[in-house]
């Protein structure tokens, strides 16, 4: 009897899981898929690899899909999707990569082409994808500058200096970002603060693509001034949260004590 019961339970659990698989996609399959993704996924292998990578990228998170960079007709289900006349560019030549990414990341490109990375006379020079990858781009952090990656081509010395002068500002950007996210969780409207911080962060990161320590130090002061402003605003909101919690604790204590007072008063009634 017990054995049969456990079989039934196991069956039920198994069954509910398989149902889940059937049910959930039905509810959630609202997102439309581009022909790029559906075809390439079917092809498998190296041709499907970019999809997997893209799925984990910041571009996917911000709803930037294949055609936003590669052009073409993402709604057409045949080879015409890759018609060059519709602006399709498959895999850009290495020297065209900065222009390819620079379609959107304009100012980054402008700064990058001033940098030794681009100006170098050597035959092979690093482009955007060398550090940021081609499809697996992540939100940029200071970790991008590290000994392992930089010393693929040159010594780490200069990069270490750049990282060093960026560290403090970058640290406060990251920390502020977390604090703003916390405020949002508490129901604060952080749109303006978030935007201001993003603008600062963006300006700072753009600037570092020139790879000039002097330029970074020169501009850090202005940027830090702007960051301070955001920080002040965040701090005042955090103080508000604290005040609310103290008020709340007092109110809650009042309510429970009141319940107790009423309780003992009731006992004294005949």
């Amino acid at each position: 009897m017990i054995v049969r019961g456990s079989i039934i339970i196991r069956y039920l659990i198994h069954f509910s899981f398989s149902l889940l698989l059937v049910f959930i996609p039905q509810v959630f399959a609202q997102e439309e898929e581009s022909s790029c993704i559906s075809c390439h996924r079917e092809m498998g292998g190296d041709l499907a690899k970019p999809i997997e990578l893209w799925h984990e990228s910041i571009h996917k998170k911000n709803v930037i899909s294949c055609h936003n960079c590669h052009g073409g007709n993402s709604k057409v289900q045949d080879m015409d999707a890759m018609n060059p006349e519709a602006g399709f560019v498959g895999s850009p030549k290495e020297e065209d990569v900065p222009k390819f990414c620079g379609k959107c990341h304009v100012a980054v490109m402008e700064n990058y082409i001033k940098s030794p990375h681009w100006q170098t006379k050597k035959e092979k020079h690093p482009v955007c994808t060398t550090c940021h990858t081609a499809h697996h781009q992540q939100r940029a952090t200071l970790e991008l500058i590290n000994e392992k990656d930089c010393s693929r081509c040159h010594t780490y010395e200069r990069a270490r200096k750049i990282r060093f002068v960026m560290e403090e500002t970058e640290g406060s950007l990251v920390q502020l970002d977390e604090r703003i996210e916390k405020l949002r969780g508490e129901g604060f409207n952080t749109q303006r603060l978030g935007d201001a911080l993003f603008a600062n962060r963006n300006e700072f990161h753009r600037l570092t693509h020139v790879l000039s320590v002097d330029l970074i130090i020169d501009r850090t002061e202005t940027i830090r001034g702007d960051i301070k402003k955001v920080e002040k605003s965040v701090g005042s909101d955090e103080a508000t949260i604290k005040r609310r919690k103290i008020g709340g604790a007092i109110l809650i204590a009042f309510l429970f004590i009141s319940a107790f007072i009423i309780h003992i008063y009731r006992k004294t009634l005949p």
């Binding site: 993003f198 603008a199 109110l251 009042f254 007072i261 004294t268 009634l269």
Partner: protein, 147 residues
């Protein structure tokens, strides 16, 4: 016996206070609720970051100036002799747009958003047009007000 009655009276008063405080505690936030912060719709002088007003002449000469109004970055342009003012904060992610005189557009350096001379989006990811402000020239200063 008297002690018991005294205790009851004391507790009764306390219970009265509890109810009184409860009512007051409810009513104060409810009244305050009807008085939201004012939105600060008043006119605002267009100025540089250190708080000095930006002169009309400098906008006319240079074609455009970015400064502060309503506590945020604002751009005033000389469009065929007419002054036009917009929020300079890109509606996409908040970067500061700049006026490209040759192309006659506002351009956001972060993700290549473009806006026309009415603030409308013509290219790129921005979801909304740039808010435009009403311009009133007061002497050599520029007064802006929200539309």
């Amino acid at each position: 016996m008297d002690e018991k009655i005294g205790r009851r009276n004391f507790l009764g008063t306390l219970v009265g206070w509890v109810f009184g405080l409860t009512v007051v505690g409810w009513i104060i936030p409810m009244i305050a609720y009807f008085f939201p912060k004012s939105k600060g719709e008043a006119e605002n002088v267009f100025m540089d970051p250190s708080g000095n007003p930006i002169m009309v002449s400098s906008v006319l000469e240079e074609g455009s100036k970015t400064g502060l109004a309503f506590g945020d970055a604002t751009v005033v342009i000389n469009y065929k002799g007419e002054l036009r003012a917009f929020s300079a904060v890109c509606t996409h992610l908040g970067c500061i747009v700049s006026w490209k005189k040759d192309e006659g557009i506002f351009f956001c350096p972060c993700h290549a958003g473009k806006f026309d001379t009415n603030g409308n989006v013509i290219a790129g990811p921005p979801p909304k047009p740039l808010p435009q402000y009403r311009v009133k020239v007061a002497g050599s200063k520029i007064n802006l007000s929200k539309v």
